[in-house]
């Protein structure tokens, strides 16, 4: 009886002990939300919704409107998505459907190499290599194009296009590796059926893509979440000018960049709180995008796991996310 109780006690200790660390994990996430909320109260109370409707950012006058930053963050991330999505899907299809076996491992390694290059190195390359090229490209455009609203702006090189390009390069490996995992979960029977009906390779691939579409949208959204929160590389190439413009060649600003640049120098409490409020919103947006993308990927892989997963196999979602 006593021996039995001792076993129970130690099991309980094990559960509580490891549970405490799981609690730390939960507490960190809850703590981030609570701290950001608490530290931005002054700004929330002072400006209310006006904060998200005005575009004047004047720390000296104590006047803060966040429109240029949220605009810049969304614009640069969507631009990056437009550039990177076809490339990411192309890579995923190539690696999952077309690639000869001997080439797959080195290629996967190389694309994942992109993901492991630090953001600051992208930024450095951006400033000294990409930005001058973007400037050359802009100067090389004929005048009538440079008069169009989408392409007007000073020939400085640090602008929305540079930011979009560097973000696109950075998120390709994330989207493509998850998209590849998702494609791998498409049952072979789907493709075999397509081939049996006389499909060409591309037609069979389209069947697979169609089957995996939900998960692929999830993979792309995961990349989008990365782009939204990316700080250093964007800060270094976007020009840091608080204005919401359509033009690709205008220097602009993002939420993460303004925090990186001004947080340390902010002396007024209101300025500091306004920056933290931007952080709070950035946190909320990335949280929503990430949760949505994970639900999509999970939905996709769960179906397949129930149907075809061999015992002991790593579920694709686990190894990909």
């Amino acid at each position: 009886m006593t021996a039995r109780r001792r076993i129970h006690a130690s099991d309980l200790l094990f559960r509580m002990g490891t549970g405490a660390f799981a609690l730390v994990l939960i507490a960190i996430v809850a703590g981030i939300a609570a701290v950001l909320w608490h530290e931005s109260l002054l700004s929330i109370r002072t400006f209310g919704l006006k904060f998200w409707q005005t575009s004047r950012w004047d720390p000296v006058a104590g006047d803060f409107g966040a429109v240029p930053f949220i605009w810049g963050t969304l614009y640069s991330s969507i631009l990056a998505l437009l550039i990177s999505t076809p490339v990411a899907i192309g890579i995923a299809v190539f690696l999952a459907e077309l690639c000869p076996g001997w080439l797959r491992t080195p290629l996967v390694f190389l694309t994942e190499l992109l993901a492991s290059i630090p953001s600051i190195v992208y930024g450095l390359w951006g400033i000294f290599v990409l930005v001058p090229h973007v400037r050359q490209f802009q100067l090389g455009l004929p005048d009538w194009i440079r008069d169009l609203p989408l392409f007007s702006g000073p020939p400085v090189g640090v602008n929305m296009l540079s930011a979009g390009l560097i973000l696109a390069i950075m998120i390709v490996p994330y989207s493509s590796s998850v998209a590849r995992e998702v494609l791998k979960t498409v049952p072979t029977a789907q493709r075999e059926a397509a081939y049996a009906l006389g499909s060409t390779r591309w037609e069979a691939t389209r069947v697979a893509l169609h089957y995996a579409r939900v998960g692929i949208v999830g993979a792309i959204m995961l990349g989008f979440g990365r782009a939204l929160g990316e700080t250093m590389a964007v800060t270094m190439v976007i020009g840091n000018s608080p204005q919401a413009k359509w033009s690709l060649f205008e220097p602009q600003y993002t939420m993460a960049a303004v925090i990186a640049n001004e947080f340390r120098e902010a002396v007024e409490q209101l300025h500091l709180d306004a920056l933290v409020e931007i952080g709070l919103v950035l946190f909320t947006i990335t949280l929503m995008v990430n949760v949505a993308s994970r639900v999509l990927i999970w939905n996709m892989t769960r179906e397949r796991r129930a149907r075809t997963a061999p015992i002991g196999a790593v579920p694709a979602e686990e190894s990909a996310v």
């Binding site: 703590g31 981030i32 890579i91 933290v276 952080g279 990335t286």
Partner: protein, 284 residues
Amino acid sequence: MISRNTRRQLVSHAMSALCVAAVIIALVPVGLILSFVVAKGIGSINLAFFTQMPKPVGETGGGMANAVFGSLVICGLGALFAVPVGVLSGVYIAEFKGTRFAFLARFAADTLNGVPSIVVGVFIYTIAVMPVHQFTALAGGLALGVMMIPVITRTTEELLRLVPQSLTEGALALGATRGRAIFSVVLPAALPGIITGIVLALARIAGETAPLLFTSFNNRFWSTSLTHEMASLTVQIYTYAIAPYDEWHRQAWAGALVLVTLVLICSILARIATRRLGRLQRGA
């Protein structure tokens, strides 16, 4: 007039070609970035880079000894914070999966993984820098630790799940308690993989800049104090990159080369280890 079938074949080949083009488009930046970092950095890498302090503006030479040392210290602190929390929370999630608390912890790990690094910086600034009115190396380590935790948690969880159930059952049948079975049998079996995961997480955070900007800040001088600001390779590269001096740009490229080399070595080692493990697990 092309027949319908020929057209379908042509479309098929064209799409395959587009996919190949996508791979090439993605690989060109890797090649460009790496070749630039090597080309620009190699000329400035010498012993002085690792042994000397930064020189003031206008003087040539000097190095980043303090920043290299600072990066090692801050990353080490990060690992110190993150490894226990990451591994043990991973054990909990794997062992008690199906419970609501484990689901919540796993959700927290995924959420934390997606939190922008700059937001982590603001969070740590508020809880660890503001109360003491001092940028500290400890705060920097804490920030990097927070970024590392979710990676280690998820790696541990996945690897524990790969350990055959029969091992646990064997230990339990011999009369081990659940905790004993995990710590003496299951965890050691998964350990090589977990260490690989930790190395990968280290490689990832070694390149982080944003969380350090207002936690460990930067320091022009040699400092070993954990309670003062400390230089790091990444913040130093950033400071140099946005300054208008050619000599500093040169140093920034050298710093980038050191950083990329470190990260690449870690990734390659981890990859080799993973492959070995995979072969072991398949029973070869």
